[in-house]
């Protein structure tokens, strides 16, 4: 029988701390190291200084501060470019050494999950080619897309457990003149933002204390090989992944809960491209409307290519159907950059987003009309041939 005292315990009295010794999964660190000892691959070590955080089962994960090799996302760079620009801009403002490579392909996992026109060996070879390319530069891979991140974790799992796959991929990489390199940790940029949140907050120039926000964590971040995601006792008592929420709270934002937090965004990989009725309906009915009804947020912050795309772009059709929409969406990197004073159009590139974000900027006291005029002055100069590009120097604060 359940003792009464257990039923009437207040939440604050329950302090769940995961015991790594009781974890239901093996520790990938041990196996990755073991396979290095056996000569199966070279482990790319996280460069110092690293920040130590905890994963789902309270094991330590190391996050590099700098010397980072930015594994970009095709959906972010292609359709929401302010997302990646914001990551680079924060690195630059904090004076951190980082590298934006052109010797990088997409992880190709969007296609793998959408069309299945690939296989385990091809996917692992693409991943390991990118990891080898990073290792050659001396910079440590940091993954911008949650699907790339999830897929690479899956690939690591498959390589760990299948000697035959390892041999096959090793042979392919040899033909490309590359070695088999496994990073010590697979790191998502949001984890870096989480680890750097205090330094970001030190540079905060925009007061965000009056803001209400909801967040959506990417399925491929915390569900796919879910043990390798960051958890922290100060965020939902370590019962939900800490990324995004931790940043927002550090910036003084009121993060509000809603009942479909765990639900996916409706992206669907193939659905967003060829079957969007599903994506639109799910995003609007299971996420946006629920957030608006239950949490009344000013902004929705997410951290993946597909989630930001689906949750933002789906609202236009929702409006046509008189649904309760109109919630601006951006990434944690964009919000962090905005807090540090980044330009809403030169850096955040908000004109690539769909849902109106002007009321949100106004609430923060940001003059978006002036900012847009400044951006247009640059594009006019590009059009007239007076200048070729917008540069980083144009974006410094």
């Amino acid at each position: 029988m359940i003792p009464h005292s257990a039923l009437f315990n207040k939440a604050k009295d329950r302090n769940y701390v995961a015991d790594p010794a009781q974890a239901p999964t093996e520790d990938y660190h041990d196996i990755v190291d073991e396979l290095e000892k056996e000569g199966e691959w070279i482990v790319h070590r996280v460069p110092d200084p690293a920040i130590e955080v905890k994963n789902k089962y309270n094991r330590t994960k190391k996050i590099p501060v700098e010397k980072t090799w930015h594994h970009k996302s095709c959906g972010q760079c292609g359709h929401i470019p302010g997302y990646s620009t914001a990551v680079f801009w924060i690195n630059r403002q904090l004076g951190l050494d980082h590298h934006d490579p052109s010797d990088q392909t997409s992880c190709t996992a969007w296609n793998y999950y959408a069309s299945a026109t690939s296989n385990a060996a091809a996917q692992a070879a693409v991943a390991m080619r990118n990891f080898a390319a990073a290792h050659e530069t001396g910079y440590y891979p940091i993954i911008h897309c949650a699907t790339s991140f999830g897929h690479y974790k899956e690939t690591r799992q498959q390589l760990i457990h299948n000697p035959e796959l390892r041999r096959q991929v090793k042979k392919i990489l040899e033909k490309l003149g590359k070695k088999l390199i496994m990073p010590e940790e697979i790191v998502h940029y949001s984890e870096w933002v989480h680890a750097m949140r205090d330094r970001i907050a030190e540079r905060q120039v925009v007061d965000m204390s009056g803001l209400r926000a909801t967040i959506h964590p990417a399925c491929h971040y915390h569900k796919l090989i879910g043990e390798d995601a960051i958890y922290a006792p100060e965020v939902y008592g370590a019962q939900r992944s800490a990324i995004i929420t931790s940043l927002l709270q550090t910036l003084g934002i009121d993060v509000r809960d809603y009942s479909t937090w765990y639900d996916c965004c409706g992206f669907g990989f193939r659905h967003i491209l060829v079957s969007r009725d599903f994506s639109r309906s799910f995003a609007v009915q299971r996420k946006i409307e629920v957030m608006k009804e239950e949490a009344d947020p000013d902004i929705l912050i997410s951290h993946d290519t597909g989630c930001v795309t689906t949750l933002d772009q789906s609202q236009f059709a929702g409006r046509a159907h008189d649904r309760n929409v109109g919630l601006p969406v951006m990434s944690d990197s964009q919000l962090a950059a905005l807090a540090m004073g980044a330009h809403p159009y030169k850096v955040l590139q908000l004109h690539w987003h769909s849902t109106d974000n002007k009321p949100f900027l106004e609430k923060l006291g940001i003059d978006h009309r002036r900012a847009w005029a400044e951006f247009e002055a640059v594009t006019d100069e590009i059009r007239s041939g007076k200048r070729e590009y917008l540069t980083w120097e144009d974006c410094d604060v």
Partner: protein, 243 residues
Amino acid sequence: MSAQPPATPGRLDLSGRQYAHVDYDEKERLFEEVKGDLRFDEYLYGCYECGICVASCPSARFYDFSPRKIAQTMAREDVDLFYVFLNDSVWDCSQCFSCDVCPRKNSPGGVITVMREVAVKNGLASAAEALEGYGRVVYKIMSTGTQVSPDMLSANAFPDWGPHVEEIAKNLDVWRRALPPETMHTTETSWQVDDKTIIELYLIWHMTGVMDMIKEVDEGLFMILQDVMEEKLEDAGYDVSFD
């Protein structure tokens, strides 16, 4: 005999009648191919038939779709029912892996990934149909190394995303140059990818048999990709044929 239409439109017909004309041996061959995949043993350990995966599944809310039924069918080795799901259900999955919450440690979404691959590899008509309209995306990722490029944003392709898409398309070249990262001034790819990198990607496709899969579901796309890749590989000094 040709396939019969489902009993009720929108409802999954689990009777198997619609595939009664397909040899059991053929269904079993495909079933064994799924089971023989190196990922399968980590994706399915049995099934409690508890339905926890369904509770977390976005596709189950909108389609007549159930990861439980798929996991259960695979665990029970029901070959006839497997064939129904292989054709009529797997493409509804969102591949979100919410179902990884399974208490049996299954990944029904992972089982579905493998089933889809087997459907593609064997050129099933249902797979070709599911991928209709998707060819340009496959072309982009396989030939350029990045998937959804800036130049894919057009009002025709995304009429439901709002007027800003047309605005982006109109200003594409200038707006790409108004991005501070030097690698992102591109319009045909999401960032600038080195030629050497592309060659390495083509060699990976070649060595892993991915092009054979494309050939099974879309011969026209295969031929276009073959032309592009063989020419580039030849220029780089590789004598490689995808035939």
